[in-house]
Symmetry: C2
Subunit: 574 residues, 2 copies
């Protein structure tokens, strides 16, 4: 390896990172996801722009053999770690507990777009295929590509709408997780034949068996081992995080090389290890934050920018194909998701919001498309169409969800507040005790339902804690026998830890009791509460409020102009 190769490698890496971060930040400033800017960086530095202006310089910098391999070492690690971070966000408990409704939503959210994609793949003219002889494989891939959902984009949208930790929010998240897992699994199985490992039933069966074996070993063998090891690594402030970080990355690398050896892609191994590790309660928030920060600021931008080096986006832009892919993808996913959520018990408008939520494809779709391109399964034109679809569906998802859950749907939380209780100084130091105290404050009204309410809210809290950040927690639960919703608002001087994503203890604790199976009403109440509590001014006023002041604040929910929280970071930014 010559000195000049190292120079070119470092310079290409530096250019990609700089351009990607710069354009990413600009994209964010004008309200687009980071990943749009990062992809654009590759388009600028790739054959599309830089290559047109100075083809020789572009080729020297990005296409020399040795520096290119060195860069591909970096991007391969990047994409594995990206999938680890994505896997960390999957919470299997949420899926198990959401049960039937999550199952219906995700099944319809997969079956519809998979069918649509399959049909599209079968009907496209031969000229859109790399090899018409492999049409079935191609059609299956399109089916898979159209069925995945971008968990991170959905999480971010839910956070913005104040619905992240609600029952409906968890339902969308759970459905998206199942879609993601199924999608990656199916895609992995397609890779065997793609790589010429044989298309006969025996070869596919072997790959399937090995893949399921890998998933089983990782989830049931590795997960408890990971927990125990983390436990044994101890709690030392200085060494424990580094040990946990090393352990996570080396397991991901082993998982990635195992799946690569099986004949499915490395990223699947990273993803499954991420899911298994993410479930561990021993993995601290700090370790998650460090790997998240490092991956999103150093690795992901280079990976997404490097995609632009592979393809001339202008030459490969085919409007007809883009429109086809986009229409089929949206139509099938929105319809499927909506239908599933409707059957799961939601009103049409909320169900449609779930459908649009699941429709977001984001970074995961782009990674899938890249792998298919590299495996020679799709042409550049189809790759560009998938990337465009991924970006557009992600952009559409937030505004559509927000429009469907709009103001005219809001609930009168002022009334609920007046009928409920207001505890100005909660003594409790733990989430459980705070819930107790708030249930106690409306125990008279609840009568014999009080113990049931208490149990239901505590159980719900155990599934996923209800701290929503900004010093707010909204513990809630469905109470069998309850006829209408109840609200009890408490303030805590020192704050109570509700495990919020921003790590801050909750000082405003809103207990919400719902009649069973009233998902829609719950969404509307929570959206109205978010409208009140998203304003920093309202929160400050509430913390010093007399009961009369508090009433005025909650009464303001109907008229006050909608304020959006500042965007929160998450994988969605990728």
């Amino acid at each position: 390896m010559g000195e000049h190769d190292i120079f070119l490698f470092l310079l290409s890496l530096a250019s990609l990172l700089t351009c990607a971060r710069l354009l990413g930040e600009i994209a964010r400033r004008i309200g687009l996801p980071l990943v749009v800017g990062e992809l654009l960086a590759g388009i600028v530095l790739g054959p599309t722009i830089f290559g047109r202006i100075a083809p020789a310089a572009q080729r020297a910098l990005f296409a020399s053999s040795m520096p290119k391999s060195m860069l591909s070492g970096y991007t391969n690690v990047a994409v594995v770690l990206l999938l680890v971070v994505a896997g960390l966000e999957v919470d299997l408990d949420v899926v198990w507990r959401r049960g039937r409704s999550a199952f219906l939503t995700s099944v319809f959210g997969i079956v519809f777009p998979a069918t649509g994609g399959l049909a599209l793949g079968l009907l496209l003219p031969d000229s859109d295929l790399v090899e018409p002889g492999h049409r079935m494989l191609f059609a299956l891939f399109v089916g898979v590509a159209l069925s995945i959902s971008a968990l991170p984009v959905i999480a971010k949208t839910l956070l913005d709408l104040g619905l992240f930790k609600t029952d409906v929010g968890l339902l969308v998240m759970a459905a998206a997780m199942v879609d993601d897992l199924t999608g990656w699994l199916c895609f992995s199985l397609l890779l065997g034949p793609m790589h010429g490992h044989g298309t006969d039933a025996a070869a596919i069966g072997r790959t399937l068996a090995l893949t399921l074996g890998f998933v089983a070993v990782t989830m049931f063998g590795l997960r408890p081992l990971f927990d125990r090891t983390l436990d044994r690594l101890g709690r030392d402030r200085h060494t424990a995080p580094r040990r946990a970080l090393s352990l996570l990355v080396l397991l991901a690398l082993f998982g990635a090389s195992t799946t690569q050896a099986i004949g499915i892609h490395a990223v699947f191994g990273g993803f499954v290890v991420g899911v298994a590790a993410g479930d561990s309660s021993k993995l601290t928030e700090r370790t998650r934050a460090v790997i998240h920060e490092f991956v999103t600021s150093i690795f992901a931008p280079v990976f997404f920018a490097s995609l632009g080096l592979k393809v001339d986006f202008v030459r490969a832009f085919d409007l007809r194909l883009c429109l086809f892919v986009f229409s089929v993808a949206c139509l099938a996913k929105v319809l499927g998701g909506t239908l599933g959520a409707r059957l799961g018990g939601l009103r049409l408008r909320s169900a449609a919001a779930v459908g649009f939520g699941l429709n977001a494809r984001g970074a995961m779709e782009i990674i899938l498309a890249t792998l298919a391109l590299e495996a020679g399964l799709i042409r550049d034109q189809f790759f560009v169409a998938l990337v465009a679809m991924a970006l557009l569906t992600s952009l559409l998802s937030g505004p559509m969800m927000s429009a469907l859950l709009r103001d005219d749907e809001q609930e009168d939380v002022g009334l609920l507040f007046r009928e409920g209780a207001f505890v100005r100084d909660i003594a409790a130091k733990t989430a459980g005790a705070a819930i107790d105290e708030l249930v106690q404050s409306i125990a008279e009204t609840l009568g014999e339902l009080a113990p049931i309410a208490r149990k239901s809210v505590l159980e719900r809290e155990a599934v996923a804690s209800t701290g929503v950040g900004d010093e707010i927690a909204i513990p809630h639960g469905a109470v069998e026998g309850l006829k209408r919703p109840f609200l009890a608002v408490g303030l805590s001087r020192d704050g109570v830890d509700f495990d919020a994503h921003d790590g801050r203890p909750a000082r405003i604790i809103v207990l919400l009791l719902m009649p069973p199976r009233t998902y829609d009403l719950e969404v509307r109440i929570l959206a109205s509460l978010a409208r009140v509590l998203n304003s920093a001014e309202n929160r400050a006023r509430l913390l010093m409020a007399t009961p009369a002041d508090a009433r005025a604040i909650f009464d303001g929910a109907r008229t006050q102009p909608r304020r959006r929280r500042p965007p929160l970071p998450s994988m969605a930014d990728m």
Copy 2:
């Protein structure tokens, strides 16, 4: 790039990381630095052991062309980031403020080993050289290699001895920083001729001019720009750290490619960018911690392990050469450092402790040796001798410093305590106010020296804050006109922020006033104080102590068995 290449790359990376982290942790458990285990991992996986047992498998995994280039992409980024982290630890303010004594110590600490190395290089038989015709270049390299000091090892030793933030500690650190900077600069200049950029005066002059230009632009142009940019990136908890991280890494990559283009090595660029960025007050502790954690847990172990792949350590082990290099290195550096510190005003024993401190070579020496090996300047045998010397000098440094500053040297802090003051409840909330309050408590004894003492301690605090971790701060200063040392001990219920490395506010604040130029006495007093305060039990007792109890605790300093703090993490671990 085939699927099999990606598999081999991921597997080789996973094996290196796993083996390095595992052996690193074992090394640490038995009291050796992490880097010993990490190097050993490479020896196990390289030609030395794995290659002897299964040569074909070893070659397939680590020597296939494409996976090897991909891995080298990773290790090249790793070594640049390693030097960034090393650079971050250099604090130029400390160097400027230590002035004459740091200057003397570092000059002697460079000149002696440089001369010794040069002589060794000139006297070794031709058979030890790659090319006898380049003997002068080789001798110059040996001179440079023997003069560098490992800042991180020294920092860790000082932390262990409780001397990190004392005047003597700062002196050693400042001298080591100058040694490091000079060593890397000289080494970089040698790389031009090594890479055949010409050995004539014009070529060397050009490289020197470009290198100094790069350093000047980075330190004076980039540093303020970095500050301003970080400032503008804002204080948002979520996005700011990721932006700072990206900015730091992309600047490092650009610096690295610039120095690589100049004809000196990429690592020098990373190092200089690290030094420039490390000086920025806008770079938060959190960003430093994240990059440090990630580099030491993911990148550094792979880099050090990969060294073992390059060389067969058993075959290349030459005892004669190891002894030569080790003896000359130790003798010259210890003598030089001791003499410099003695001339700088220290007593012989403390000066010798400084000498042994500077003698630690650590990871920096190993990186230097690797680059020389790759440039074809040294033979495998000499590489192994340098690595062995680096490890041995690092291992020796702590015990020798600790022995030289041993118990019989200790000061009677019990007496000082009885003559001083004890403030059981400090009201101050800031470091400055706490210092005020403690000076006030002995103002009567100090008389007209009180304002001078206050000014001196505050000035010293401004150079480097004196929080030493474990809720202890030892603000101190030399007071012109003072005849003997004074101690005032204060306790703070809520703690006062003295910017300790562990982030904890100080609850035990010890004000120490010294007569001017009594470095030795200061070292002894601080070592005795460390002996009292290193014990968690003593600290707990002190926090609830009556004046009589406190007296008893400080009286115990002479007799109490020495307790060591648990090892603190730092770059030394590498």
